[in-house]
C-alpha cells in the first residue's frame, strides 16, 4: 500500500460529510490492512465507521441501519473464507438491509494459486466491486457516488 496525498474529495463541488462502513469478514481477524485503510480514508476526509475484525454480514447490516447515508460498505477478507463469510449477503441486499454498494478487497480465496472463480462467486453474492489496492478507494468511492447520483437523476426524470 503506497500513500497518495490526502485530497478533500467533493463531488460536483458539494463538500459535505462522506461516510463509509468498513470491516473485516466474519471469520477473519486480519486487521492490519483494515486499520491502515481506516486511517488513510479518515486522512482523506471520510468518516469511517470501522467495525474491525470478525464482522458478520448481520453486523454490517446493523451499522447500515444506523448510518443509512453510508456511501459504501467496505469489506476486507484475507483468510480465504470470504465466500462463506458473505453467505448472508444476498439476503441482506435483497431485503435492503444493506442498501449501498458493497466493495470487497483482500486475499479472496484459499491457497497460493488463486481461484479464478472467486470474483464471479463474489459478484453472485451481491458484491458490487472488488478492489485490489486500498489507495484506489477514494477514486472508487467517487465513481460509485457519481453513478448513484446519475441513477437517482435518471429515476427522477421521466425521460425514458
Amino acid at each position: 500500500m503506497t500513500q497518495t496525498v490526502a485530497q478533500p474529495t467533493g463531488l460536483d463541488g458539494t463538500a459535505g460529510r462522506r461516510l463509509v462502513i468498513l470491516g473485516v469478514a466474519a471469520s477473519d481477524c486480519h486487521v492490519v490492512a483494515n486499520q491502515l485503510i481506516a486511517y488513510a480514508l479518515r486522512g482523506q476526509g471520510f468518516e469511517v465507521v470501522n467495525l474491525g475484525a470478525c464482522t458478520p454480514v448481520e453486523e454490517f447490516a446493523r451499522a447500515y441501519r444506523t448510518h443509512p447515508e453510508a456511501e459504501a460498505v467496505l469489506i476486507g477478507s484475507l483468510n480465504g473464507h470470504v465466500h462463506e463469510d458473505l453467505r448472508d449477503l444476498p439476503e441482506a441486499r435483497r431485503s435492503g438491509r444493506i442498501g449501498c454498494p458493497v466493495v470487497v478487497g483482500g486475499n479472496l480465496s484459499v491457497g497460493s494459486v488463486k481461484d479464478p472463480s472467486s470474483a464471479s462467486r463474489l459478484y453472485d453474492l451481491g458484491v458490487d466491486l472488488i478492489v485490489e489496492d486500498p489507495d484506489d478507494l477514494p477514486a472508487v468511492l467517487d465513481r460509485l457516488r457519481e453513478t448513484r447520483a446519475e441513477e437517482a437523476r435518471l429515476a427522477r426524470s421521466p425521460v425514458s
Binding site: 481477524c29 486487521v31 484459499v110 497460493s112
Partner: protein
C-alpha cells in the same frame, strides 16, 4: 461461552486418552523438543492444514516423506477457531478446499487418531481460538500432545469481542486438563503464541505476554511450555529475545517445568518473489540456531500469495533444515556483546511490564484483565476491543522494532529514552521525514522493501 454443542461424538475420558497416547508408540512433542535441545538441534515444524480428511492425511504423509519434520501440525480453519462449527461443517460438505485449515472438531477425535497413527512425528494443533475447550478435548482424544495458544495470545489477535476474562477462564480449563494429563503421565506441550498480531510486535510485548501466560499455565499444572517469539527481522534483537527466554523462565517459572524457546520464522508481510522469500526463510532458520531455539516454525516461498502447496511447504522445511548443518559452525556468528546489551534491555522492559501484574497479592488473571483495560498491558494492531492498541511500533535505522509510542505501558524513563534515541538519534537528528502512515506502511513492508519489490 458455553461448551460446544456441535462437537460430534462422545469423547473418551482423559484417562483413556492418556493410555492411548502412552500406547501410541511415538514420542510426545515434549520429548521431541527435549531431544532437540539436548542434541543442540533446532526441531522443525511446518504449518499445515486443509479441509478434507483424506487430503489432510495425504498432506501429512507427503511432508513427512519428503522433509521429515520433527513435529507435524494440524492447522485449524478459521470457522472452527471462532466456534462457528456449523459454518465449518457447511464448507466442509460443499467445498472442502475453501477451508483454510482442518476442522478437527467436525472431523472428530477418531479421525484425529487416524492422522496421528499415519505419521511418525507427533502432532501439534495450531489454531487461534479464544475459547478452545471443545477443540482441546478433541485434540487430546485424538492423541495430540501439543496445543498452541493462550488466553491472551489467542484472544486479542484472533477475535473482536471475546472478553479477556472469559478467554482466560477457558484457557485455564485447558491448562488444568494438561495438569491432569501430566498426572496421568502424559506431558502436553503448551506453545504460547508470542507472535500475537505478528506485525511489528516489540520483543518485550511478545515476551511479557508469554511470561504471563506461562505463569498462568504452570500454576494450572502445565509441565512443558514453549515460548514462541516471532522473528522481527533484526539479527541482534531476535537473538537477544530468544536468549531472554531461558532467563525469564528461571525468573518466573517453577524449575521443574520444561521451557523451550521457539522461533516463528518472520510472521509479517513476506516478500513475494521466491528467491527473496527463500533468503528470509534461511535467515530465520539461522537466527533460530544462533538464538538457541528448541524449535522453528517454518514459512514458505508462497507465504505472500496464500496457504502454501505441499511442494512449497516441503521446500521451506528443507531449506530451513540447513540451519542444522554441522558444516556451518565456523562461519556463523553474531556480535555477542551487542546481543548481551540488547538482551539486558529486553529483560528490563519485560520486568517493567509484567512485574506490576504479577505483584504478590493479586490474582494474575484479574490483574491481566485490568491491565489491558487500562493499557498498562497492550499490543499493537489488536483485533480485539479488549486491548487498546495505543502502542505504536517503529523500526529504527537498523531495522530493529522500537516503541515510537508506548501508550500506557509502565516503561521506565530510561527505557523510553533509549527507544526515543534509537529512533531519532541522540540529538533528534534522525527524525523521519515521511508521514506517520507512510512510515508505518514502509515498516510493515520492511522485507519486500528491503528486496526492492514493487509495493503491492
Amino acid at each position: 461461552m458455553s461448551p460446544s454443542s456441535a462437537a460430534p461424538g462422545v469423547l473418551p475420558g482423559l484417562r483413556e486418552s492418556a493410555a492411548y497416547i502412552t500406547g501410541l508408540g511415538k514420542p510426545t512433542v515434549a520429548a521431541v523438543l527435549a531431544g532437540a535441545r539436548d542434541r543442540g538441534r533446532v526441531a522443525l515444524q511446518p504449518r499445515c492444514g486443509v479441509g478434507g480428511h483424506a487430503e489432510m492425511k495425504a498432506l501429512l504423509l507427503a511432508l513427512e516423506a519428503a522433509a521429515a519434520p520433527d513435529v507435524l501440525t494440524l492447522t485449524i480453519d478459521s470457522h472452527t477457531r471462532l466456534r462457528r462449527f456449523d459454518r465449518a461443517a457447511r464448507t466442509l460438505a460443499a467445498r472442502p478446499r475453501d477451508l483454510n485449515g482442518y476442522p478437527l472438531v467436525n472431523h472428530g477425535w477418531r479421525r484425529g487418531r487416524e492422522l496421528n497413527e499415519a505419521v511418525g512425528a507427533p502432532l501439534e494443533v495450531r489454531h487461534g481460538s479464544p475459547d478452545p475447550r471443545a477443540l482441546f478435548d478433541v485434540a487430546v482424544a485424538g492423541g495430540i500432545t501439543s496445543f498452541e495458544g493462550g488466553g491472551i495470545s489467542y484472544n486479542l489477535p484472533y477475535s473482536k469481542d471475546v472478553s479477556l476474562m472469559s478467554s482466560l477462564a477457558a484457557w485455564e480449563a485447558v491448562d488444568r486438563s494438561c495438569g491432569a494429563l501430566a498426572d496421568l503421565g502424559v506431558v502436553v506441550d503448551r506453545e504460547l503464541f508470542g507472535t500475537l498480531t505478528a506485525v511489528l510486535v516489540p520483543p518485550s510485548i511478545s515476551l511479557a505476554v508469554s511470561v504471563l501466560e506461562a505463569v498462568l499455565a504452570t500454576r494450572a499444572g502445565v509441565k512443558c511450555v514453549s515460548i514462541a517469539y516471532p522473528q522481527g527481522g533484526h539479527l541482534i534483537q531476535d537473538v537477544a529475545a530468544l536468549e531472554a527466554i531461558p532467563v525469564l523462565a528461571r525468573n518466573h517459572l517453577p524449575a521443574e517445568v520444561q521451557v523451550h524457546p521457539v522461533l516463528h520464522e518472520f510472521m509479517g508481510v513476506f516478500p513475494r518473489q521466491r528467491g527473496h522469500a527463500e533468503d528470509l526463510i534461511l535467515y530465520g532458520a539461522l537466527v533460530a540456531r544462533l538464538g538457541g531455539a528448541s524449535k522453528l516454525i517454518t514459512k514458505t516461498y508462497e507465504e505472500a500469495a496464500g496457504i502454501p502447496g505441499t511442494r512449497a511447504n516441503i521446500d521451506g522445511l528443507r531449506l530451513a533444515g540447513r540451519a542444522n548443518s554441522p558444516l556451518l559452525g565456523g562461519l556463523l556468528s553474531v556480535d555477542r556483546d551487542r546481543v548481551r546489551e540488547e538482551r539486558g534491555w529486553i529483560l528490563a522492559e519485560v520486568a517493567e511490564i509484567v512485574e506490576p501484574v504479577l505483584a504478590r497479592d493479586r490474582d494474575p488473571a484479574a490483574a491481566i484483565v485490568e491491565a489491558f483495560a487500562r493499557g498498562t498491558l497492550d499490543i499493537p494492531f489488536s483485533a480485539s476491543r479488549f486491548a487498546r492498541s495505543a502502542i505504536v511500533p517503529k523500526r529504527d535505522a537498523e531495522g530493529a522494532i522500537r516503541y515510537l509510542s508506548a501508550g500506557a505501558l509502565p516503561l521506565s524513563r530510561a527505557t523510553l529514552r533509549r527507544h526515543h534515541e534509537l529512533l531519532y538519534g541522540r540529538d533528534g537528528s534522525g527524525t523521519p521525514a515521511g508521514s506517520p502512515l507512510a512510515d508505518l506502511t514502509r515498516d510493515i513492508n520492511y522485507f519486500p522493501h528491503l528486496f526492492g519489490e514493487e509495493p503491492m
